[in-house]
């Protein structure tokens, strides 16, 4: 069950192109599972809280990794240790944690966020991480991930780090001669769609995004074309969806 708390900022620092924010929120930290998210807000301006994946949890502290884009994330980026924020979480469905070896994880840019906690919990399954970005500034904490994965493949579009190119290329190559128990992916919808295609009938779980007002199922704003027909709510039916569940043709 989600908790709504006023919580304190423990630390905040730049992480290359992103920001790493640590917030003390024991009840949420206790219950969170990888893939779940939280709504963060600073009172009434901007009006709506903002959804962020819970990147990691440690001794009652929640870690977030986010990109400063519009005015909400800009205000969050200007927080300082000791400031308080309103936090609602944990929210939504988590990734299913498998026990079989060599699960595949795909992260595009800030899509790395939910995988900090997931790789820790899947460490014994020796996951394989495919991590792509536009440029090196979007590839963070490679040490953390290298230590906890069997293999980590990094690509950047400008070649400033790892192999030059799109992350989908090494994924395609890998899947052509491996059959992982599951593929997890988080990133731009275009990437997720491509990953879903490449994975074919391999079980695939994707972290989807939609504009959110409430984050806990009451506004019906976060509709995504899923299931036979109609829409599902990203905030409660997701954000983690089976790739089969998404109606890609209806997703713009």
């Amino acid at each position: 069950m989600p908790h709504y708390l006023t919580a304190q900022v423990v630390s905040i620092e730049p992480l290359k192109e992103y920001v790493r924010l640590a917030i003390k929120a024991e009840p949420i930290a206790k219950e969170m599972r990888p893939g779940q998210f939280a709504m963060l807000s600073l009172g009434c301006e901007p009006l709506l809280p903002r959804p962020f994946s819970i990147a990691m949890e440690e001794r009652g502290v929640l870690y977030f990794v986010f990109q400063s884009l519009g005015k909400g994330t800009a205000r969050l980026a200007s927080l300082r240790p000791g400031d308080s924020v309103k936090i609602l979480g944990p929210l939504g469905r988590a990734f299913s944690e498998v026990t079989d070896m060599r699960p595949v994880i795909v992260a595009g840019g800030r899509g790395i966020a939910p995988f900090f906690e997931l790789v820790r919990r899947l460490q014994r399954c020796a996951p394989v991480l495919f991590y792509g970005g536009r440029t090196q500034g979007q590839i963070v904490e490679t040490g953390f991930f290298a230590r906890r994965t069997h293999e980590m493949v990094v690509t950047t579009e400008d070649g400033s780090m790892g192999t030059k190119g799109l992350i989908t290329e090494p994924i395609a190559a890998y899947l052509s001669d491996h059959r992982p128990p599951i593929v997890y992916a988080c990133g731009p919808h275009a990437l997720l769609h491509k990953v879903a295609d490449l994975a074919g009938d391999i079980r695939t779980e994707l972290s989807m995004e939609a504009n959110m007002a409430c984050g806990f199922g009451i506004c019906m704003g976060c509709a995504i074309p899923a299931g036979e027909a109609g829409f599902k709510r990203v905030c409660v039916d997701g954000p983690i969806f089976s790739s089969r569940d998404i109606r890609w043709k209806d997703l713009k």
Binding site: L47, P49, K86, N211, F216, I218, M220, G221, A223
Partner: protein, 305 residues
């Protein structure tokens, strides 16, 4: 919260704080944060006879101190609601008001009939004001004739308390309010969302898939408050105020403008406990000024020019 009971027609509410339609679904999720038995009541998401999927995404966009939505009334239909969603609400001892929708006058009647026949439904709120169904935000609540016609028809099929929810997108809200009263409304909800729009300047596309949507939140509070005042000046029936209420002070303003009760909508998205915190604040304000709610309702009067 003692001594805060209010009567909306024959409907007796524990207190004047209601959850606004479309801002708490069918109550399950919000019940994780607030005890529905502690509130005046819950107006559930708009319901038609048949299930509906609603509008395509994107459905929401944030604006300065407000938000646009074009949800478009997705829902499971009144029968499924009565079968699956109403019982848990009643177990929670919630006062349940159904927000009644229809694509035709017949459908409005049919939904109202089901509400009339269902014991657990305490009152009806006739939604003649959703801006997200027809092009250009058109709705019956924009015409005195359509409002009067629809309210009279629905009035015939139910004796339960009938609240009519007005649209702010009109020249003369007082005139529409009079039509609803003449049609047989027991109370009026003022206001639904204000028709608005936002555009993505990188693509030239509207921010909402439907183009236009309903503006809600603190941005519209001064407009809502003005309309509550204008309506309360002319009608005899109680007015339920809504529009940008996020804290108890806002609620007091609406009471002073003439509202007998208030609805909390968008605030639930920002703070799931907003409604109970507002109720608490109202009680403390009244205690501090040792007043009763009726002393405050309509206290504000504009001096004639």
């Amino acid at each position: 919260m003692e001594g805060l009971e209010v009567s909306i027609g024959s409907l007796r509410l524990r207190n004047p704080v209601l959850l606004a339609s479309g801002c708490v679904g069918y109550g399950e999720e919000i019940a994780q944060f607030v005890d529905l038995a502690e509130l005046g009541g819950i107006v559930v998401k708009g319901l038609y006879m048949s299930p509906r999927v609603g509008n395509p995404p994107p459905r929401t966009w944030e604006t300065p101190s407000g938000m646009l939505n074009s949800i478009g009334l997705p829902g499971i239909g009144i029968r499924a609601f009565v079968a699956e969603k109403l019982p848990p609400l009643l177990e929670r001892r919630a006062t349940v008001i159904v927000n009644v929708c229809g694509s035709t006058e017949e459908e409005y009647e049919d939904v109202s009939r089901v509400c009339d026949e269902t014991d657990g439904v305490h009152a009806l709120e006739l939604n003649i004001s959703c801006p997200n169904i027809r092009a250009n935000g058109r709705c019956p609540g924009m015409s005195q004739q359509e409002t009067y016609a629809l309210v009279t028809r629905v009035r015939r099929v139910t004796q339960k308390p009938l609240v009519v929810k007005l649209s702010p997108n009109v020249t003369d809200i007082a005139a529409i309010a009079m039509s609803a009263q003449e049609g047989g409304a027991d109370a009026l909800s003022v206001i639904n969302t204000v028709l608005g729009m936002a555009i993505n300047i990188e693509t030239g596309e509207p921010r909402l898939a439907t183009g236009m949507g309903g503006l809600s939140g603190p941005a519209i509070r001064p407009i809502a408050l003005r309309m509550v005042y204008q309506v309360a000046q002319v009608v005899e029936i109680p007015v339920i105020g809504a529009g940008g209420i996020v804290e108890w002070r806002d609620a007091i303003e609406f009471f002073m403008a003439g509202a007998s009760a208030v609805q909390v909508g968008t605030a639930n998205f920002v703070n799931p406990r907003a409604s109970v915190e507002i109720l608490q604040g109202i009680a403390e304000y009244l205690a501090r000024h040792n007043k009763r709610l009726p002393d405050v309702v309509g206290q504000c009067r504009i001096a004639p020019r």
